[in-house]
């Protein structure tokens, strides 16, 4: 089922959480809403679910206007960050709940069969008589997913589904979620503040800032062609140096960078820590090493340019220059954005 949002607005008291968002999620697509806290991503998800109502704009499920349909009748599966499993019911009862309260009457045996089937799908066979308190966090989230899927929802909505789990479990679960999605082909929208999770899992990433969409594209799009400084910063470590743009060239501490189609004036040069080569001499921005931090796969070097700006870059483990060494930063794949 395709989801379309047209100019959706939401205001809490005096705070405008969502400023006229328009978004399309194609049938069968897996889309991530990515943004820092306060960017409005959860609010958008809750409006799609019907847990909040939009103050303006429309939400369509396929051709049907779902804007004012209550959550109960909207036919969505919602997975909460903190699972929201019913603590007084067993795993089996939790999964069966939606089928029991449904307006569509089901045979007891049909419900039991479906519960077993779903437990197998989420790889928790045999755990149906346990209570939520007796299983691990990762297992709970899988039960929550099974419970949401039990009512055959038109769309699946997940609010920070792995936010409360530790790193290893998180990685396993998201690969697994991708598998399930590919198997079922259900339209899925999920919210996360973790860029790695969004890039790892989604077909398309929608990046939000202060209630607005700042970029909407495939993981490759947003990584290779960040729309602005915010996206660049948010997707990973980034260095920033002030630049002066003149006639399609950005000048940074005496070094020119291409900035085609940019308006003359103040700008900012952004680049990733992995895109720097340290040169003892030659071209580049002159800098001095302040500190070297060792990491399992590389060395992180903290340096200061002669212009007084801090820069961090990654060097191979063989990097042998120490504190106080002077040299030049050769920057690749740098991007220039207009100064805010």
């Amino acid at each position: 089922m395709k989801i379309s949002l047209h100019n959706v607005v939401k205001t809490f008291d005096t705070f405008r959480a969502v400023h006229g968002i328009s978004l399309e999620v194609e049938s069968g697509e897996l889309v991530a809403l990515l943004g820092p806290s306060g960017s409005g991503k959860t609010t958008i998800l809750r409006m799609v679910a019907g847990l909040e109502f939009a103050d303006g704009g429309n939400i369509y499920f396929g051709a049907e206007d779902a804007t004012d349909i209550a959550v109960r009748d909207r036919g969505v599966g919602f997975v909460f960050q903190h699972y929201a499993l019913f603590p007084h019911m067993t795993i089996g009862e939790n999964i069966a709940f939606g089928m029991k309260v449904s307006k569509v009457k089901r045979e007891k045996s049909a419900i039991a069969t479906r519960v077993t089937e779903l437990l197998r799908l989420v790889q928790l066979d045999g755990l149906q008589d346990r209570f939520p308190a007796q299983i691990s966090g990762g297992q709970r989230q899988r039960v929550a997913l099974a419970r949401a899927l039990a009512v055959d929802p038109k769309v699946l909505l997940l609010d920070e589904p792995f936010g409360a789990l530790d790193a290893n479990v998180r990685r396993d679960l998201r690969r697994w979620l991708r598998q399930i999605h590919d198997e079922l082909g259900i339209t899925t929208l999920f919210v996360t503040h973790d860029q790695e999770e969004a890039l790892d899992l989604a077909d398309r990433v929608v990046i939000l800032d202060k209630g607005r969409i700042v970029q909407n594209g495939t993981p490759e799009d947003v990584c290779r062609n960040p729309a602005n400084a915010f996206v660049m910063n948010f997707l990973g470590d980034a260095n920033r140096l002030p630049a002066t743009i003149q006639a399609g060239t950005a000048h940074v501490e005496g070094v020119p960078f291409q900035a085609p189609d940019m308006v003359d004036g103040k700008g900012e040069l952004f680049f990733r820590p992995t895109d720097i080569d340290w040169r003892e001499q030659g071209e580049g921005i002159p800098a001095t090493i302040l500190r070297v931090i060792d990491r399992p796969d590389n060395r992180r070097v903290l340096a200061r340019t002669d212009g007084g700006h801090a820069v961090e870059f990654d060097a191979p483990p063989e990097f042998s220059h120490g504190i106080g060494a002077a040299g030049h930063l050769a920057i690749q794949r740098a991007r220039v954005f207009a100064a805010p």
């Binding site: 679910a49 019907g50 847990l51 209550a70 959550v71 109960r72 009748d73 909207r74 969505v76 599966g77 919602f78 909460f80 903190h82 929201a84 499993l85 019913f86 603590p87 007084h88 709940f97 939606g98 309260v101 449904s102 307006k103 419970r147 949401a148 039990a150 009512v151």
Partner: protein, 297 residues
């Protein structure tokens, strides 16, 4: 640390309050003495006095029609007031914890007023509202509705005094639980009632029972507010606590104690129920700036 070897706090360790055995012993002695004098002794006296003229006289007092009526009236009041305040408590806790509305914090404070106000104030204010010279006095009289010096007045006064008991147990619990469970249930297609009965209620039942037990004990024991509005008409509007006072004023000490022993028995039952519920995890959650429950006059 071996306390037997410690005649005084060792200098090398930072001295802690109460480390000195003399201090510890005297503190314990004082606490035990006060408990014996102020709690255990009076209860013992009730028991001893109630049966001082033999079990026959005890039975006679209890079987006395006025006493029987007082017991029934008290039970009837509890049967009406406790369910009403339970429903009120759930509704109030639900409203405060699950909705956002202006005046939420104010409502939270208002609900707790009966805890901090002397019950006699409640009684007197009911006189002013429903009494003959009161706000609705003429209206009520012309409609021939009797509130004061009758069961409705007693129930109203009891309701006022015990309004916060259930709400106060539920609010912190429901606040901690948040709205996720209800939202999950509705997103799965459950109706409002279904959500309440199969998701909300099972998760608050122990705290709710705890509140009900405390509320019931207080309704049955309420004296101050009820004594103002009931008019103390023997055999008609005398609740058990009022009846005890009446017997006492009649110089029927044994009768008073016999009746009092019933209330004391209720206290013991309440205590057992309270402990049993606390084992279930009810009533131990942090309360919201709750004043200590006031003791009865």
């Amino acid at each position: 640390m071996n306390s037997k070897e410690m005649t005084r706090p060792r200098r090398k360790q930072p001295p802690r309050v109460g480390d000195h055995p003399a201090f510890r012993r005297s503190l314990l002695a004082v606490v035990i003495l006060i408990t014996l004098l102020m709690v255990v002794a009076p209860l013992l006296v009730i028991g001893v006095q109630a049966f001082s003229l033999g079990i026959g006289y005890f039975g006679e007092t209890i079987a006395n029609s006025d006493t029987r009526h007082a017991i029934l009236l008290t039970a009837l009041t509890a049967l009406i007031a406790v369910p009403i305040n339970t429903v009120f408590g759930i509704a109030a806790a639900w409203a405060i914890t699950k909705f956002d509305f202006p005046g939420r914090r104010f409502l939270l404070v208002v609900i707790e007023i009966p805890f901090s106000i002397s019950p006699i104030v409640a009684g007197v204010s009911y006189l002013f509202v429903y009494g003959l010279q009161g706000l609705f006095g003429d209206m009520l009289q012309s409609a021939d509705v009797k509130i004061l010096f009758a069961l409705p007045g007693i129930v109203l006064a009891s309701l006022f005094v015990t309004a916060p008991f259930v709400a106060r147990e539920l609010i912190p619990l429901m606040q901690a639980q948040g709205r996720d469970l209800e939202e999950a249930a509705t997103s799965l297609g459950a109706s409002g009632w279904r959500t309440f009965f199969s998701v909300t209620l099972p998760n608050i039942k122990w705290a709710m029972l705890y509140g009900i037990v405390l509320c019931n004990a207080r309704v049955m024991g309420e004296f101050g507010a009820v004594s103002v509005v009931s008019g103390n008409i023997r055999g008609q509007t005398n609740t058990l606590p009022l009846h005890i006072e009446l017997l006492y004023h009649d110089y029927n000490t044994v009768g008073a104690f016999a009746a009092a022993s019933i209330l004391a028995l209720l206290a013991v039952v309440t205590l057992i129920a309270k402990v049993a519920l606390e084992r279930r995890g009810a009533g131990r959650r942090p309360t919201l700036a709750a004043p200590a429950p006031q003791t009865e006059i």
